[in-house]
Symmetry: C2
Subunit: 375 residues, 2 copies
Amino acid sequence: MEKLLAAGLMSGTSLDGIDAALVEITPDLSCKFIGGVSLNYSEKMQQKLKSLFAPTISPKLLCEMNVLIGEYFAKAALLLEEKTGLKPDLIGSHGVTFYHNPTNEKFENLSLNSTFQIGEGAVIADRTGITTVCDFRPADMAAQGQGAPLVPFADKIFFYNKNIPRVILNLGGIANVTVLSDKCEVFAFDTGAANMLIDGAMRKLYNTTFDKDGEIARSGKVNESLLSKLMANPYLKKQPPKTTGRELFGETLLDEIINNTNDKPENIISTLTTYTVKSVKDAFDKFIYPATDIKELIIGGGGAYNKYMTELFRQEFEPKTQIKSHEDFGISNKYKEAIAFALLAYTSYYNIPNNIKTATGAVKDVVLGKIIRKG
Amino acid sequence: MEKLLAAGLMSGTSLDGIDAALVEITPDLSCKFIGGVSLNYSEKMQQKLKSLFAPTISPKLLCEMNVLIGEYFAKAALLLEEKTGLKPDLIGSHGVTFYHNPTNEKFENLSLNSTFQIGEGAVIADRTGITTVCDFRPADMAAQGQGAPLVPFADKIFFYNKNIPRVILNLGGIANVTVLSDKCEVFAFDTGAANMLIDGAMRKLYNTTFDKDGEIARSGKVNESLLSKLMANPYLKKQPPKTTGRELFGETLLDEIINNTNDKPENIISTLTTYTVKSVKDAFDKFIYPATDIKELIIGGGGAYNKYMTELFRQEFEPKTQIKSHEDFGISNKYKEAIAFALLAYTSYYNIPNNIKTATGAVKDVVLGKIIRKG
């Protein structure tokens, strides 16, 4: 094993573009973030990409998008090289999730659990001339895992400290936590809704995409009756490991909230913001604090930029559990997932198992990913 | 580099099942065929698989078939291990071609050339516990090649002899040749129709799948007017490299032949059998003999079992060019393609470029495939 410069490439569910991060990784797996860059898809490309998420598609469109997304990922890697002035030794590319279904259906007694990330790694390796690791999720799923989440492996390396039990909270559309403590195995689960409900309500009530700094939430008051109803969601009581998404916290719930709540818009936003915080706290009380004391709660994801929400987290958790940011540990919040895939690529390349069984539910340790020699 | 036992797994366009071959490969790339086994898909599985080849499909079906085909490939590998009593060190899996389009279309000035083989390698690696190389075609296509043919790499290693210029002829649905001579670069191309027309006519005229040993062809007489029309097909004049398929030599041409030829069925079969031989000879006269003398023509593929056709090849080519079989060189004709993917896996694993640019049209040497660590 050698010290390598690894680039991580990530494109999330928002389908707007690619984050690329350059990381120096040493054999003890310590990571130094060197720089990051984001590349947006062209508008035509975004439209073409969105047309893939339909009940039926043409094989031609799928296969074309696989190579086109590969071309864009390669561009992002080349842009990163240009910006940092450093050529990576290795690329780890997550790709774009086209399909993900860990629902345990069977055919002829064989598991149909499957996942598919597009963004052809062979195109990335060819255009960059850099060995590329891609397609990280199928190996965990083949080992009976959910194929997700994969970031806890990086969380463990970045944040584990045997003297300071920590939780890493990612506030994306959904909120998820990774628990790092010497008192228990690493475990991770989705606590419930985060920006999915708040951003959705901002779109419907304010015709804008998000509540900048949480200012609208700050100006409103919590509707206690709505909050109680939301806190009664049975998902919150479900035992981890558990994952959730649009099925439970998407448009259907949002429409129900908006149509059945006779209150000012800012009060609805305020309630949904408080709900995010209270449902995380509820998960701590039910599932985390009983397993281990937690000294620090490290907030990341888009919600980390919501200043009002961060204040609510402080009110709710401090002084028992201190609220921290990714930047407090030298990890860029914006590029966190891209950084994680650089580290996953490094470990895959050197044949080090890199799924976290207690997070994915896999029955064994596996080396994730597929390695493509440089083009 | 070490001596390894490599298993090659192949599933062809007929979609009936999987061929698996075990090969001992040494660092000088010499191959010793140890044994082979075939596994047929269940009838339900075949139906499900065939439903994939439609103008539009559901992402769910595609992703499920990807893992199911992976399960079947894994079963074939395990069956091979059981039959030979030897555990492979490495698996090379071609998968099932779901889509292949090298037609040079563009989007935003980016190539849309793409290819997709299904049969999840991560499932194969997990179920067998063996490091698996899969997905061989995309890297050649990323390097501007057609992603096919890949078998000439193996042909070169099996059959190249600087003193004996040879052609390897594969008689599948389509006939293709690989030219191995010290007088020119290795080159390969499709000469035109082979079993695609003969088997199609047997189905329509005799309601059976093929002409066993060529007995029906032997009992008939060539219809010279039909033969002349077929020999006038412009594809035969086209300069190599060239590939063809069902578009030119499929149902449309077959219906035209059968509807417009007022002759006995056995005469039609006889004519199509002779056409296969004459169109190969025509390719020799136009493109191969002008480049190099050829001492031996090595026949393989399903057509090698057609005794009458082999006799016609002898009449047409000997004594100038001797007709040989794969078995004359210790290579199993039945398992030839599976053997080729074992060798491709070995070379990919050891980082040896393994596309043949003059066969695929790629602009550079690449290491094909994606390497998945054993599960």
